[in-house]
Amino acid sequence: MMLFLMALGMLFTTLVLLGVAGFLVFAERRVLGFLQNRLGPNRLGPLGVGQALADALKLMSKENFVPDFADPVLYRAAPVLVAFSALASFAVVPLDHHFSWAGNWNIGLLFILAMSSLNAYGVFLGGWASGNKFSLLGAVRAVAQLVSYELPMGLALLGVVLLSGSLSLNGIVAAQNLPYIVLQPLGFVIFLIAGVAETHRLPFDLPEAESELVAGFNTEYGGMRFGYFFLGEYLGLTLIAVLTALLYLGGWHGPWLPGWIWLLIKTAALIFVFFWLRATLPRPRYDQLMALGWKVLLPLALFNVLATALAAALWRLA
C-alpha cells in the first residue's frame, strides 16, 4: 500500500515537473517577447498559455524518426537519459523542511552533481549517436563546457558546505539564518554563471549555437525525442534556479507566507533572471567561454573556498 502511494506520488511529482517545464517554455517566449517590445505567443487560451499545450501536442504527434546513419540504440537512449537525469535530481530538492522525497539525504548535493554529470553523457551520446558532424561538434562542445564549469560550480558549493557543515539540502537551508548570498556573494555569482553554462542556456548555448551548428547536438532530433532534450533543458534550468534559491537565498525562509511559496517566488525570480540574461547578452566565442571558465571562474572559486575556509576558521577561533 505504502509503495503504491509512493509510486503514485512520484508519478504526480514527475507530471507536475513536466508541466512546469512545458509552462516554462511558454513563459520564456512571452517574457522574451515583453523584453523585446513584442507580445510573444498570445493567441491560444487565456494570455496564450494554451500555447504550451499546443507545443507539447505537436511534439508528441510527430513521427518518431531515426535517421539511417544514426546509432539506433544510443540515439534512442540519449534523450531519455537527459530527461531522466534532470528529473532524478529533483528527488533531493525539498520544497519545505518536511516536504521532499530525499531532502534529508546527507549526500543530496553530491547526488545533484552526479546527476548533472550524467546529463553530460546524455547530451554527448545524443550528439555522437546522431552521426552528423554538427551534432558531434555540438556534443564535444557540450562535454568540454560541462566539465569546465562543473569545477567552479563544485568549488563554489564548497563554500556553502563549509559554512553549513552539511551536504543535505534540508541541512543547508536550515543552517541559513542569514541567506548565504550575504556571506558568499562571490560564490553566488560563480554558481549562477556556472549554472547557466551547465544548462547550456544562452548566452552559453554553444553546444546548440544555431548560427554555426544548425542545432548542435540535437540537429538530428525531432518529435518527442527532441522534446526530451527540451524538457531536460528546462528542468535543468528550474533545478539550477531552485538550488540557487535553496543554497544562497535562504530557501523557504521568509516572513508571513508559507515556506514553499517563498521558495517558489525566489525560484521564479531566478528563472526570470535567466530569461533576462538570454534577452540581453550575446553568445561569446567558444574560446572566450573556456577562458572564462578556466582563467576567471576557477581561480575565483578557489580563492572563494580558501577565503571561506580561513574566515570560518577565524570565526571558530574567535
Partner: protein, 176 residues
C-alpha cells in the same frame, strides 16, 4: 578598471532590456484598429474629381509602367468627347503594391489607399473590374481636376475657360 567597465556595461545592457518590459510595438490587428500613415500603399482604386466625374482619362500610363503588367484598360469616348476607361481591370493576384501606377498617373485618378486585407478563395476573384475599383470620392487629393488644367474643350468648358488660359485667338485677324 577593465573589469569594472565590463561589469557596468553588462549592467547597462541588462537595464536596457529590463526597461522594455511593458512596452510593446506590436499592434494586435485585427482586435486593435490600425493607424495607417497617409502614404500607406494599399489597394489601388480609381477616384473621382471634385465634380464627381471619373478622373481617369484612359491614358494607359499606369498600365505601361506597372511592373507586373496587371492593369488592363480600354479607352472609350463619351458623347461629350471626354476620354474615359471603357473597361479597367486590375489583377490583384499580380499587383505588388509598388505604387508606380499612382506615381505615373497624370490625373491623380489611380491612388493606393489603405485597404490591404482582402483575401479570396480563387485567383479569378482578384481580378477587379472598373465597377469595383471606382470609388465615390477624391481620395488623397481633394481639389485636383485635370480637365481644368488641360487645353481641350469639353461640354461645359470651352476653349479659354481652363485655368491660366487666354480667350481663343481670332485667326482671321492680321493685325500686328
Amino acid at each position: 578598471m577593465r573589469v569594472w567597465r565590463n561589469i557596468s556595461e553588462l549592467g547597462a545592457g541588462l537595464w536596457t532590456t529590463l526597461r522594455q518590459l511593458g512596452r510593446t510595438s506590436t499592434v494586435s490587428y485585427p482586435e486593435e484598429p490600425l493607424n495607417l500613415p497617409p502614404r500607406w500603399r494599399g489597394r489601388p482604386v480609381l477616384t473621382r474629381d471634385p465634380d464627381g466625374d471619373e478622373r481617369c482619362v484612359a491614358c494607359q500610363l499606369c498600365s505601361a509602367v506597372c511592373p507586373t503588367r496587371c492593369i488592363e484598360l480600354q479607352a472609350g469616348e463619351r458623347p461629350d468627347t471626354r476620354r474615359y476607361p471603357l473597361t479597367f481591370r486590375i489583377n490583384f493576384s499580380r499587383c505588388i503594391f509598388c505604387g508606380l501606377c499612382e506615381e505615373a498617373c497624370p490625373t491623380l485618378a489611380i491612388q493606393l489607399l489603405d485597404e490591404f486585407a482582402f483575401s479570396k478563395e480563387h485567383h479569378a476573384d482578384f481580378i477587379y473590374e472598373k465597377e469595383a475599383l471606382l470609388i465615390d470620392g477624391t481620395g488623397k487629393h481633394p481639389h485636383y481636376n485635370f480637365y481644368r488644367h488641360s487645353g481641350v474643350a469639353l461640354q461645359g468648358k470651352d476653349k479659354g475657360e481652363g485655368i491660366n488660359e487666354k480667350a481663343p485667338v481670332n485667326v482671321r485677324s492680321n493685325l500686328p
